[in-house]
């Protein structure tokens, strides 16, 4: 009897460990159930909010749209090149993400400038050079203020106009987006530990089965 209980415990423990192996990331943002009729049957599906299409210009003066990120996992953040407060520490941490995945063509980092008037393509290119980034892994994006502030809302990030001291207020979040353009995680970009978790989560996301085609 005793042996049986022991064996049961081991089996239960083993199976619970096994299910933990497959870590999964949550899907963030608004969701709504959609009911449709497929083959005469009523099916209810959950529709998650996704990042809508956009159009920005990167540090190479290339046009970047939502299409440029099709089938790619990416991380987004908001910054400006003359930012004296949290941006340097954010991009010091983001460099670790860049170094980890820079040879992966299905991964991107996009950094939106919230000071597009000053951060022209030339200024962004110079910043990229000084930061030591090259190639197409990490795009620094310039767009109109309206576009940038609008898309920040989709990433659940808050950015504001200059305050009376002439400073921009923005939070230092890194947003993880999956291949279907759904939000999968937010991380404090100023905290090295959270950025280490981001790198781990990107690996989990990469291992997720591909479901890009909708049934």
């Amino acid at each position: 009897m005793k042996n049986l209980i022991g064996a049961l415990i081991i089996i239960v423990l083993y199976s619970s460990c096994k299910s933990n192996d497959q870590a999964k990331l949550p899907i963030l943002g608004e969701r709504e159930p959609v009911t449709k009729t497929v083959d005469g049957k009523t099916v209810t599906d959950t529709v998650y909010s996704t990042i809508p299409d956009f159009k920005f210009v990167n540090q190479y003066a290339d046009t970047i749209t939502g299409k440029s990120l099709n089938g790619k996992i990416y991380v987004a953040d908001f910054f400006f090149t003359t930012c004296p407060s949290i941006c340097p520490v954010m991009h010091r941490n983001m460099l670790n993400v860049y170094k980890e995945f820079k040879n992966d063509n299905n991964f991107r980092i996009i950094s939106h400038s919230i000071d597009p008037k000053y951060d022209t393509v030339q200024v962004l290119k110079k910043y990229a050079d000084k930061l030591g980034i090259s190639g197409n892994t990490w795009w620094l994006l310039n767009g109109t203020k309206e576009q940038t502030y609008q898309i920040a809302k989709n990433y659940l990030v808050s950015v504001q106009e200059k305050n009376p001291q002439g400073e921009y207020i923005h939070d230092g979040y890194f947003i993880l987006v999956d291949k279907q353009k759904r939000l999968r995680g937010t991380y404090d970009g100023t905290d090295p530990e959270q950025v280490t978790k981001l790198i781990a989560d990107i690996k989990i996301l990469k291992a997720e089965p591909d479901m890009t085609s909708t049934k």
Binding site: P84, I86, P88, L131, G132
Partner: protein, 138 residues
């Protein structure tokens, strides 16, 4: 019981060691530890936890020669910011460091911290010296 005796002797030794410190050493320690907190609050985001800077964007604070050669200008850099091209560790940097609202005593403390951390070893930069330096800011 034995551990209590050891503890008492240990405490006595520590007390002795502290009372043996010269006044200069005590002042240095005071500046240094306060400077560390000021560094974390005002400098670390850009210059890094270990004064390592950020690639070619923000210069490191580990070039002892630069700090020595510019010792009397450092206070002005902190107060009024620094613009234009500088050479640190043989590399060129041309960004801009913003002005700060640190008081002279805070400047003295944080400079003492920086010039004695990250592999740098200089003497204390005290309030008197910072006040003198600031008067001569260009």
């Amino acid at each position: 019981m034995r551990s209590l005796i050891i503890l008492t002797i240990g405490l006595l030794l520590v007390t002795l060691a502290f009372s043996c410190q010269s006044d200069e050493q005590i002042e240095f320690n005071r500046y240094y530890s306060a400077g560390s907190a000021i560094y974390q609050a005002h400098c670390e985001n850009c210059h890094g936890e270990k004064g390592e800077g950020l690639q070619s964007l923000i210069p490191p604070l580990t070039d002892s020669t630069y700090l020595k050669n510019n010792r009397t200008s450092l206070a002005c850099y902190l107060k009024n910011g620094l613009k234009g091209s500088i050479t640190v560790h043989g590399r060129n940097f041309e960004g801009e460091m913003p002005t700060s609202d640190l008081s002279p005593i805070e400047i003295a403390k944080v400079l003492t911290y920086v010039t004695n951390s990250f592999g740098n070893k200089m003497s204390i930069i005290n309030l008197q010296q910072v006040q003198n330096d600031i008067e001569k800011c260009k």
